[in-house]
């Protein structure tokens, strides 16, 4: 029982920390993408194309391989290459281009005319990002974060395979090496429960935010 609590906690810790960092770096990247795209407010087609290609390349490297590639970086950042804390580095790095892309899509939901209205009110681009672009896109951004966290849960299970700890690690150790189906299935159920609760709360927040925008005409 104890090891489930231990592993569950490791998973939660890994997933939430790496989600946090992936959004911290991914959201600004998404904003840069939306501003510099050819039809954006600060069109920089060259920069946009470079970022676009880099993101596409990073997204096409399978997680397991990237994790091995990033080991040295983990050693620099957290002092070691294996273990739960060390796993946060590749988890976050893999998620950053994904978050950037998904935030870009979310920010695209904001109508160009609304941004124009903000500019016509005398807003700077930086003010516009904070006061219009991000607030208006918030429901879509919350949805993006939900998808990201679920993705990272999946990756974190895989990280167990190379000593990352967490529920995935537990499932592999007991399920694969020791052939203990009960512990395997408990791990699986716990992971499913985690994914579903993230989904549930993400959807809840998103819907609450969207309600303002779609209230029926009185």
């Amino acid at each position: 029982m104890n090891e489930f609590i231990q592993s569950g906690w490791e998973t939660v810790y890994m997933v939430l920390t790496s989600s946090f960092f992936s959004v911290v770096f991914g959201l600004p990247l998404g904003v840069v993408l939306i501003l510099t795209r050819p039809e954006g407010l600060l069109p920089k087609p060259g920069l946009y194309r470079v970022l676009d290609i880099v993101i596409n390349v990073l997204r096409s490297v399978p997680f397991l391989i990237l994790m091995i590639v990033v080991f040295p970086l983990s050693r620099v950042l957290v002092g070691r290459a294996t273990g739960t804390t060390a796993t946060i580095v590749p988890l976050a790095i893999v998620a950053i281009p994904f978050v950037a892309r998904i935030m870009e899509q979310g920010l695209l939901e904001v109508d160009g005319g609304v941004l124009e209205a903000g500019l016509a009110c005398g807003a700077k681009i930086s003010q516009l990002v904070w006061t219009v672009l991000i607030p208006e896109a918030l429901p879509a951004l919350v949805n993006g974060v939900t998808i990201t966290v679920i993705n990272i849960i999946g990756n974190s299970a895989m990280a167990g395979a190379i000593g990352g700890g967490g529920l995935g690690d537990l499932a592999i150790r007991y399920g694969l090496y020791r052939r203990d189906p009960i512990k395997l299935w408990v791990s699986v159920v716990l992971i499913i429960a985690f994914v579903q609760s993230v989904q549930f709360f993400g959807r809840l927040i998103e819907n609450r935010l969207r309600r303002d925008m779609t209230a029926a005409v009185l």
Partner: protein, 375 residues
């Protein structure tokens, strides 16, 4: 005193590898407290033009003089300052959907770096002015189209601008809400003395509000005049169509087919619009007057009317009748569908300018796009 002066403004786009001259050498000026209308069909370049006026769109060439500065030459930071003195309202309102009505109106004040306690009274005052104080905490999605546009107007007025740009601001509204928004704009002009550049494709909207109107076609201003003169003496075929209203059944050029005699457009000034001039000349000159179309328009400066008629009688009596009408201050043009083969008419002086002749270009008139469906 002129608040806005535009000189030779040009803006073109590349669309599907062809260059579109959306604004093609436009010049005009707007006086303080004046409502200046820019009217034209969809695609005439009106919306591009309005975006060039506050430099949301950078023109290719030309000058935009506002408040003693040529905005085209200004740095972005100066432009932001100037934009605060130029309100902008849109066809689709463009309210911030996740901000309340109160926050929407407060936005320009907040962005200008003011503290909430400084501007909160101002926001309340604006909401009171547009009659939506009770909706301060509502979100735009809970409002009707007309209410949304009123909120947008309050937002545009928040920083006490000297000029208001209105880009098809009533086009997405039903007639009742259009009326409400127009009367609010009228009230704004009367109370605050600000100038408005009103962009629209609806002549009913322009005539209800404007002092002067410029007609745009293919990125150019083809005709500009006071509203009254424009209704009395529309020079270009497009203007005549605009003045007449596109919703009437028979195209203008077909009226010349229907009648067996030459067709004239009579423009009546406010002082002559109420008098029975037609039956008077019919009796005096013993001619038959066939009335093909007509209307009276209520303008800011008074009522003006027009009739499309044909006169049946000898050339001499018809000319006599026309002279008599002119003597009463009625504007008389001969309408001719034969592509201006002769600018002059059979009666010699009835029409002196080729520009007054209906040209075949009429028949190539683009399909009229009806006002967008309301909310």
């Amino acid at each position: 005193m002129c608040i806005l002066r535009v000189e030779q403004l040009k803006k073109s786009f590349v669309l599907d590898k062809t260059v579109v001259h959306a604004v093609d050498g436009v010049s005009f000026s707007v006086g303080t407290g004046e409502v200046f209308g820019l009217i034209g069909l969809s695609g005439a370049g009106k919306s591009t033009l309005v975006r060039c006026l506050n430099l949301l769109e950078r023109p290719d060439s030309g000058e935009v003089w506002f408040d003693g500065l040529n905005l085209v030459e200004q740095e972005e930071c100066v432009l932001r300052e100037k934009r605060r003195q130029i309100g902008l309202i849109f066809q689709h309102f463009n309210l911030f959907m996740r901000k309340t009505v109160w926050e929407n109106v407060a936005y320009p004040l907040r962005i200008a770096g003011k503290q909430k306690k400084e501007f909160s009274a101002r926001v309340d005052e604006l909401l009171d002015y547009i009659g939506l104080s009770s909706h301060a905490r509502s979100y735009p999605a809970e409002l009707s189209g007309g209410q949304k546009q009123r909120v947008a107007i309050a937002r545009a007025l928040a920083l006490n601008p000297r000029l208001l740009l209105s880009d098809e601001s009533t086009s997405a509204l039903d007639p009742v809400n259009t009326e409400l928004v127009l009367s609010l704009l009228r009230q704004v002009v009367d109370d605050l003395g600000i100038s408005i550049v009103l962009i629209t494709h609806q002549m009913e909207v322009a005539k209800a509000l404007c002092d002067r109107i410029a007609v745009m076609e293919n990125g150019r201003i083809i005709e500009e005049n006071t509203v009254e003169e424009l209704f009395l003496r529309p020079q270009k075929p497009m203007t005549r169509h605009m003045v007449r209203g596109f919703d009437e059944d028979i195209p203008l050029e077909r009226l010349t087919d229907i009648a067996s005699a030459p067709v004239y457009r009579l423009g009546f000034r406010p002082q002559s619009v109420k008098r029975p001039l037609i039956s008077d000349i019919s009796r005096r000159f013993d001619i038959d007057v066939n009335i093909l179309a007509g209307n009276i328009n209520a303008l800011v400066g008074g009522d003006v009317g027009y009739l499309i008629v044909s006169f049946e009688g000898s050339a001499q009596t018809v000319q006599g009748a026309i002279d008599a009408l002119r003597g009463e201050g009625v504007e008389v043009f001969r309408l001719d569908q034969t592509n201006g083969l002769n600018g002059r008419t059979a009666t010699g002086t009835a029409d002196s300018s080729p520009a007054c002749t209906e040209t075949a270009a009429n028949t190539a008139l683009p399909q009229v796009v009806p006002a967008s469906a309301g909310e």
